[in-house]
Symmetry: C2
Subunit: 419 residues, 2 copies
C-alpha cells in the first residue's frame, strides 16, 4: 500500500524568516528513501487555531502527518495539545519520558539538575502512543494511529529532529511501507552545470524509472539516479545500467558514488596508501582546505597541518617563499603557488602538499589581478603541478571552488590520473 | 489596513528533500520588515491539481499570495498557468519580457544566442499584470490583483528570487502597506540557552510590543526584539527601552547588536586599533578560526595568518612548542595551548595570537581526555590567558564553540574586559 505524508512545521520563527525549514528537507529525503510520497509541506506559527486548521486540511489529503516543532515548555506544548485534540486523544503521564528528562537535566546542569513543573508537562503524551524518547534534548516525540492516519511528532531543533527521525521515526515508518525507492548519487568535479545539463537533457526527460536529476553546488555537480521497485535490491538493479552509462560518459570527472565530499575521497585514498600524509599552505582560502579535511573524523592520521599565509611576511618567513619571487611575480602567481606548496611540504615533512593563492574579492589585488583568479598547486617528492583557476561568484564561492580544485589535484594524483 | 500573506513554493525537488525552502525564509524576512503578516507557508510539487488546491486554500486565508518556482520551460510554466486559471486571467504575450530574455540568452551563449520556442512561452504573462522583468535569469515574474487578492510570482532559484524580491516585489508590496516592523538583535556569548531563557521567560511571555524571542545557535544566543508601529522610527522607539534593559541585565555577555558574528566584531575592533594584528595556531579547530576570520572581506588588514598543527611534530618544529611540555602534559593541555599561542605570535610577528588544542571527537585522545575538552589561549605582548572549555555536542559543534571562545577572548581583551 502506498502512503502519502504531509509535513507540518510549527513555529513562528519560520514565518518570520528567522530560520529555514531544514527539518522538512531532512524528513522529505528520508521519506523518499522509504518510498513514501510527500505532496505537501505546511508551515504554521505558534497558534492553536491555525495549527488546527492545518491539521484538518492535512487529514483530508495524507495518511501520515509528521509535525516538527511546537513541543516543549517555551510554546506550552502546542503541537501535542492540538494534535491530541484533533484526533480525540487524552494526554497521559509517561513515566519513562519523565525519568529520561531528569537524567538529561542532571547531565546538563550537574550543579542543580532540577527540573521545573513546566518541564514535567512534557512527559504527558497522547494515550496509546509509541513514545519517541529524546536522547538529544528534553521534549519527547511520539507516534500514534487514529482515524486511519499515522501522526508522528518530532522536536523542532535540527539537532534533536534529525537523530529522532533516524533512530525513532524511520523504524516506525518502515513497518508501514512495502516497496522501496533506491537512489545513487554520482559526484562530478571539473565540469560546469550547464555543460552537464546540456549533455543529459534529452536523456533525462526520457527517463522514468530510474529518473535522473542533476544538482549543482559550488562548482560541483551531483547526478542522482532514483528508482522505485518492490525491494531496494530490485530498485538498485534498475539503476545499475544507467549508472554504468553515466560513468562511461563522464569518465574521470566522476570522483565518487554516494560519497559525502571530495575531501572525504582524498582522506580515504590517503588512508589506503599507508604512510602518505598531506599538508596545506593557504593564502586566499584562509584555512578552508585545512578546515574541510579536519571536519572529517580520522583526519589526524593523514593531515599533518598547514600554514595560513595571509601576508607576504608569513609566506617569506614561515613558508620560505623567496622574496625575489614575491617581488617579481607578486603573491598571486604560479611561481609563488609552487613555492608555497614546496615550503609547507618541507616545513611539515608531509608527502603531499597543497597551496592556494589568489583573489577572493570583493576587490582586485594590488597588482590588478581579477577577482576569482586562483593558483592551486600540489607538490610531491620530486615534482609539483600548478592549476590556474578562474572561479565565478562571490568570496565564499571562490574560496570553496579553489579548495575543491586542491582536493581534485590530490585525488587525481593518488589515482594516477592526468592532473 | 493589515495584510496577510501566504507563500506557496512549487517544486517537486522541495518535496524530495533535494533542497530546503530558503526562498520562504528570504521572503518571510522581507514581509516581516514591511509589517505584512505571514500565517502559512505551503510547499507543493510540480502538479497542477495539487497546486490548484493549494491556491484555493490560500485564497481563503490570505490577501497576498506569493509563489516561488514553477516558472520557465522545465516545468511548462506550471505556476503561471495554474494561477492565471484560478483567478480567471488570460495569458498575453509580453514584448519586453521576450526582448529581455533574448538579451540574456545572447550574454549567456555568445556563440549561438538563440532561444527556442519553449523559451518564448515564458514571455506570456497574465493580462493586466505588472511584469517583474528578470535581470538575473530568464523567466519573468509578475504581480496582479484579482478577487481582492494580490498574486505575486517569483522564480525559484534563490539567485533569481532574491534580487527579484528586492528590486521588483518589495516596491510593489510597500505600496500596499502602512506601518512598519522593526527589529533589533542582541547577540550574546558565554551563557547557555537554558539559562538565558529561564532568566527571561516571564518577561518574554508578558511582552507584546515589542516582542522578545531567543534563538540559540552553536553556543551563542540571539535575543530578538521586534516592534510594530506606524513607522520604522516609531517601532525602533518602542524597542529602545527593552534593549537598554537587556543590555543592563546581560552586561558584557552582549557582544553586539545587529552584528553578523563574533569574528566580525573582532575584525572591527582590530581595525579600530590601528596596527593591531592577529594570528592563530590551531590543533582541534583545524583551520576554522582562520577560515572564519578570513571569510570576512578586509581580513587581510589584521589577520597575518596561522598554523594548523595537527601533529606534535608540527607543534614542535613549526610552533616551537617545547618537546618536554608535550611529553609531560600531552598535546591537549593548558601549557601546550599557551606555548602554541606564543609560538604562532613569535612566528608571524602578530600583536595578538590565538590557539586551540582539544578533543573534537568522536573519540577520546590517547591520554583519555574527554571529547569536548578544549584549551583556548590568547597571547599578547608580555602575557597570555588560557580558557578551559567543555563543549557539548558533536565534532562540528565542538570545533565551532572552541573557535568562538577564541574570538570571545580577543573581543574581551580589546574591550578591556576580564578574560
Amino acid at each position: 500500500m502506498s502512503h502519502t505524508a504531509e509535513l507540518i512545521a510549527v513555529g513562528t520563527e519560520l514565518l518570520l524568516g528567522s530560520i529555514a525549514n531544514t527539518d522538512a528537507q531532512t524528513i522529505s529525503k528520508a521519506l523518499s528513501a522509504l518510498g513514501i510520497n510527500v505532496y505537501f509541506h505546511t508551515v504554521v506559527g505558534d497558534n492553536p487555531q491555525r495549527l488546527r486548521r492545518a491539521v484538518e486540511i492535512a487529514k483530508g489529503r495524507a495518511d501520515i502527518i509528521i509535525t516538527t516543532g511546537g513541543l516543549g515548555p517555551t510554546c506550552d506544548d502546542l503541537t501535542k495539545n492540538v494534535l491530541a485534540e484533533c484526533f480525540g486523544k487524552k494526554l497521559v503521564y509517561n513515566e519513562e519520558a519523565a525519568r529520561r528528562m531528569e537524567a538529561y537535566f542532571r547531565k546538563l546542569h550537574p550543579d542543580t539538575g532540577k527540573m521545573t513543573e513546566n518541564n514535567y508537562q512534557q512527559a504527558y503524551l497522547p494515550e496509546g502512543c509509541v513514545p519517541f524518547q529524546n536522547d538529544w534534548g528534553t521534549a519527547p516525540g511520539c507516534a500514534f494511529e487514529a482515524e486511519g492516519v499515522h501522526v508522528l511528532m518530532l522536536p523542532g531543533p535540527p539537532s534533536e529532529c534529525s537523530p529522532m527521525l533516524r533512530h525513532r521515526a524511520i523504524p516506525y515508518l518502515s513497518q508501514l511501507t512495502d516497496g522501496a525507492i533506491a537512489s545513487r548519487s554520482l559526484r562530478l568535479f571539473g565540469m560546469g552545470e550547464s555543460s552537464v545539463e546540456s549533455l543529459l537533457r534529452d536523456r533525462m526527460n526520457a527517463m522514468t524509472n530510474p529518473t535522473l536529476a542533476p544538482y549543482a553546488k559550488e562548482g560541483e555537480v551531483e547526478l542522482r539516479l532514483t528508482a522505485k521497485a518492490g525491494s531496494e535490491a530490485a530498485a538498485l538493479a534498475l539503476i545499475a545500467p544507467a549508472e554504468a552509462e553515466l560513468k562511461e560518459q563522464f569518465g574521470d570527472k566522476v570522483y565518487g558514488v554516494d560519497v559525502p565530499s571530495l575531501e572525504w575521497v582524498c582522506l580515504e585514498l590517503l588512508k589506503k596508501k599507508k604512510g602518505l600524509t598531506l599538508s596545506a599552505a593557504e593564502s586566499c582560502t584562509g584555512g578552508l582546505m585545512a578546515k574541510r579535511i579536519t571536519d572529517l573524523p580520522g583526519a589526524s592520521a593523514v593531515f599533518k597541518g598547514g600554514v595560513v599565509s595571509y601576508t607576504n611576511e608569513v609566506k617569506e618567513n614561515v613558508l620560505k617563499v623567496p622574496a625575489g619571487l614575491l617581488e617579481e611575480f607578486g603573491a598571486v602567481s604560479e611561481p609563488v603557488a609552487r613555492a608555497m606548496a614546496q615550503g609547507v611540504r618541507a616545513l611539515t615533512g608531509s608527502d603531499l602538499a597543497l597551496s592556494a593563492t589568489g583573489v577572493a574579492g570583493p576587490d582586485r589585488d594590488d597588482r590588478d589581478n581579477p577577482v576569482g583568479l586562483v593558483y592551486v598547486a600540489l607538490a610531491w617528492e620530486g615534482g609539483e603541478h600548478v592549476r590556474t583557476v578562474h572561479a565565478a561568484g562571490g568570496r565564499s564561492r571562490i574560496r570553496t571552488v579553489a579548495a575543491s580544485h586542491g582536493f581534485d589535484l590530490v585525488r587525481r594524483y593518488l589515482e594516477g590520473l592526468p592532473l
